[in-house]
Amino acid sequence: MSERTIAAIATPLGEGGISVIRISGDNAIDVAEKCFCTFSGEKLSNLGGYQAAYGKVVDNEKEALDDAVALVFRAPKSYTGENVVEISCHGGTVVARQVLRRVLECGATLATGGEFTKRAFLNGKLDLTKAESVMGLISARSDAAAKISRGAREGRISRDTEDILNKLLETAASLAAFADYPDEDIPNLNEENFAKLLDECYAKCEKLISTYDAGRIIREGINCAIVGKPNVGKSTLMNMLCGSDRSIVTNIAGTTRDVVETTVNVGDITLNLADTAGIHETDDTVEQFGVDRAKQKIDNAELLLAVFDSSLPLDDDDKKLLCSIRDKKCIVVLNKTDLTPVLNKNELNEFEIIEISAKSGSGYNTLCSAINHICKTAMLSPDDTILINERQRDCVNRALNAVSAARDALNMGMTLDAVGVCVDDAIAALLELTGKRVTNEVCDEIFKRFCVGK
């Protein structure tokens, strides 16, 4: 059962000093040899692991495509655990694509997204949280998201859970010794220490879980809708946030009739931004559609930017809107601060207010930090361990519940075998987190994430 040899450009596309084309699989070295001639005349297949050779990438007419360095890794000592050749050629999309095309002609097939990582995982080179983090890196849409995934890749999750695990294993071991040697004069268990240990584990699990929601927002972005009555400057705000004229702006009320959507990075956060039609009573059928859609967006959004014209007093449309967003996560944006302020801010004191001039761009930074703050991402330190997917959160959550049950059993005065059952549960959940214990959930995840078994 031999797997095909795969290849792909391993460096980000775009201008850069060098590009790396990675080839992995049983035949990686053979494939590379067909398209790479060393200047020394030495064959790549004669090179040992971690050895490099300078040479040229050639087409089937032996015409040079580029000068390059080929670095040979021999299984299992490579990223994927298979034979790997990495060809470092000159940077730039065109050259890298040409080299890749040539490699594919020589017998490799194009790697699908994450396939190198999948192989690394299956060959035991990465634990599950690390593999997941690489998948996270590949699909990261912002700097902060990439940073989180890098943290996980470096093993922060494994390290943090290891710490909790060790504490729990220590607990489980003393419980076992206590039961197995009834006749020995070993000292009785210190229940206070026990309770303290469980408290510590509880706090650590709780902290890990609290990072998840913030982490998810950073990773996946947050659905954010700009709402407000017509002509308060919603589309101007949209354009300010994305730095281009995404929405058509006129001084005619009701210019935006449908929902206009785009993705922008604001500080650490990706906003899946939707500019909506101004909400007001209208007889225009087409505009009414837009208004209905806007209302739907309010329901689905995780964050609302409610825009008001600070040069006008609040009217009935404004007040209706305020009523409908009262229970949502939202920021009230008072636009047009370049004009004379008329609006009475006291009527808005239950909301967080940011004053801007979308036209001039003033207040942009304040708005950004307010968004980061309200999404709780502002509190995250770049060095925090952050859980990066639902599976991980579920594992930690189960550990948390089990530790909590163990604590309850202990406090209630249940016998220690009952405490032990709960501790065992917590241990199992954490082992599952890092993939050290294989369960059906982990298997499902493997199949889901790495599209294996085909």
Binding site: P182, G413, D417
Partner: protein, 622 residues
């Protein structure tokens, strides 16, 4: 060369008449197979060459499980109990463990008679010196006198007899336990079959004269007031006939031992065999736990009709005169007279990774192992394996499904799975911590877990099975009733609650919820429970445990269900794992050697990582 003669033919031959051999012989005979049991010394069938007791943590569970399946050990122990104690009361029902002092001679008599009386079973005093499979497809067991017994299956239950060698100080000699002959030639015969043998060792303390002990300097250890039998079929509570005593070593003991350590064969490097980590000799304890002030010693009577006393915790292989010197440093033993000297014994046993879960040797169809031969330690571990090997040999001949008990069903299943999957590097002793399902594998519910299996095998009688069904029905009815009984607050009830340190009632409360409170139990609420039926003690115990621990039991059941899902993913037999790409070589080799039945078993093999398991799963899904 001795002249061989054709003796009788049997379905099954069992080599050894110890705790493993007895169960291995009784089970097939009871299933109607023509069986023979060979023992080197017919006076010592069921001998206890070490402690005169049965049970203890996890071992007590094994005895009850074996009883539920239809084994003999529990009945014999109940009939010969000198003192009975339930250990770990107060640590929770998962770890309650029954332990009984046994009259050693009486136990042998009981077992000897049991095998003698058994239909289809012949018992012979004979040393098997050679076994081999011949062209007739049968295993031939040759005795020292040249008798050739041809059998379809052979069960090796050789204990410490196989290649046995005793060590006492600088002295060592070939011997079985308790002055019996060793089985030396059989070891050589097994090596010819390429069976992977290795050396383990174990040891036993001195037996001393009761009259030479000053009991006034020792603490008394009484039996339980309210005793519980091992066997579900025993209807009378065992009587406490003796007391045990506890003494302690001191600095002088330590000094004598340390001064003479170089004379211990273990420290001098004479013994190559690996001893049990969990049952160390006194010199081992003193070296390994150097900062411990004192070590415990239990003085246990060996029987009602003997003055020999066993010194539990004091096993040693130091020279005889050193033994006497250190025993005499212990308060109460100042003038002790040793009747039998402590010794270490080294013996041959198999690497259990060479066994299937049926206890059949993978490369030798029809040949089974049980007990110490399989690398375990302890009478109870031996008996449990003997039973499983016996049933499986019988089922193989009868063409029936093998008996493989799961880890979640029993300690017996856990024991065998550990042995054949993880192997062992020292004599394997059963402990509650070996099981991940302690709260389900309780000693009180061994009948519910295994009696249906025992009945299905045909080794539990209709009568006992009906009694079991009746107990179960009573328990279920009572749990139902307790769940639907409500107590109104009353002055008397609240007084009880407060006296026990738990909140008084202000509104009505379900009886079950009161039992769930750790401060209360089923019994103490009886005066307020007008409708409570008269129930046997064991039923009351089950009702209490199942109600009180309901939440924790279901938590554990969920763990079992999770495991079973992996356990249900079967792996192909006779498959070359080196052909699966992605498996590390070490894992592939281990898998080829152990040939796991399913993914669950594969995941427990040391050297098989979770990544390897993922690869197997992916392979299976193709």
């Amino acid at each position: 060369m001795i002249k061989e003669y054709l003796a009788e033919q049997y379905d099954i031959a069992v080599i050894g008449g110890g705790h493993a051999g007895i169960e291995a012989a009784l089970a097939p005979a009871r299933l109607g197979l023509k069986t023979v049991m060979f023992t080197i010394n017919l006076d010592w069938v069921g001998n206890m060459p070490c402690n005169p007791s049965i049970g203890g943590t996890a071992k007590g569970h094994l005895v009850r499980e074996l009883d539920a399946l239809g084994g003999e050990m529990g009945k014999a122990a109940d009939a010969t109990t000198l003192q009975s104690r339930m250990l770990n009361r107060g640590k929770g029902p998962a770890v309650y463990s029954l332990r009984a002092q046994i009259d050693r001679r009486e136990y042998c008599s009981y077992m000897k008679h049991a095998v003698e009386k058994q239909k289809n079973l012949d018992v012979k005093q004979a040393e098997i010196v050679h076994i081999e499979k011949r062209d007739d497809g049968l295993w031939h067991c040759i005795t020292r006198l040249g008798a050739d017994y041809a059998c379809k299956c052979v069960i090796l239950a050789t204990g410490t007899f196989l290649g046995g060698r005793i060590y006492i100080g600088e002295v060592n000699y070939e011997s079985g336990p308790d002055g019996n002959f060793p089985a030396t030639e059989l070891a050589a015969s097994l090596k010819k079959l390429n069976i992977p043998l290795r050396r383990f060792k174990t040891g036993t303390p001195a037996r001393v004269d009761r009259a030479s002990i000053d009991f006034s300097k020792l603490e008394i250890q009484d039996g339980d007031e309210d005793t519980v039998p091992f066997s579900f079929s025993t209807t009378e509570k065992p009587q406490n006939k003796v007391v045990c005593h506890i003494g302690y070593t001191n600095d002088d003991t330590k000094k004598v031992i340390l001064e003479n350590l170089h004379r211990s064969p273990l420290y001098a490097g004479d013994i190559e065999g690996v001893g049990p980590r969990y049952c160390p000799s006194i010199e081992d304890k003193i070296v390994r736990f150097a900062d411990k002030q004192r070590h415990q010693m239990f003085v246990e009577p060996c029987g009602e009709n003997t003055e020999e006393m066993y010194l539990q915790g004091m096993s040693s292989s130091l020279p005889e005169e050193v033994q006497l010197k250190f025993y005499r440093t212990i308060p109460g033993l100042e003038n002790v007279k040793v009747m039998r000297t402590a010794y270490a014994i080294e013996y041959d046993c198999i690497d259990p990774l060479a066994l299937y879960a049926t206890l059949e040797i993978k490369e030798q169809p029809g040949l089974y192992g049980a007990g110490q031969f399989n690398g375990s330690s302890g009478y109870e571990e031996a008996a449990a394996q003997g039973f499983v090997a016996g049933v499986n040999a019988a089922h193989k001949i009868l063409g029936l499904e093998p008996l493989v008990l799961s880890r979640s069903s029993s300690y017996i299943g856990t024991l065998i799975d550990d042995l054949v999957t993880k192997g062992c590097s020292d004599p394997y002793r059963m402990m509650t911590s070996r099981s991940e399902y302690r709260l389900l594998l309780r000693q009180d519910n061994a009948d519910e877990r295994l009696m249906p299996t025992g009945y299905g095998l045909g080794l539990v009688s209709e009568y006992e099975y009906n009694r079991f069904l009746e107990r179960k029905k009573l328990k279920e009815q009572e749990i139902e009733r307790v769940n639907n009984t409500f107590f109104a607050p009353s002055k008397a009830l609240n007084e009880l609650l407060e006296s026990r340190g738990t909140a008084p009632l202000t509104t009505g409360c379900r009886l079950a919820d009161l039992i769930k409170r750790p401060q209360l139990d089923y019994k103490c609420l009886a005066p307020f429970d007008k409708e409570r039926p008269e129930l046997p003690d064991d039923v009351c115990e089950k009702v209490e445990v199942e109600i009180k621990y309901e939440g924790y039991i279901s938590r554990q059941q969920a763990q079992v269900d999770e495991m079973l899902r992996l356990e249900n993913k079967a792996l192909p037999k006779d498959f070359d794992y080196t052909t699966i790409k992605g498996l590390r070589l070490e894992a592939a080799e281990k898998l080829n050697k152990i040939k796991p039945e399913n993914i669950g078993q594969a995941s427990r093999i040391s050297g098989v990582s979770p990544a390897d398991v993922s690869v197997l799963l992916i392979y299976l899904s193709k």
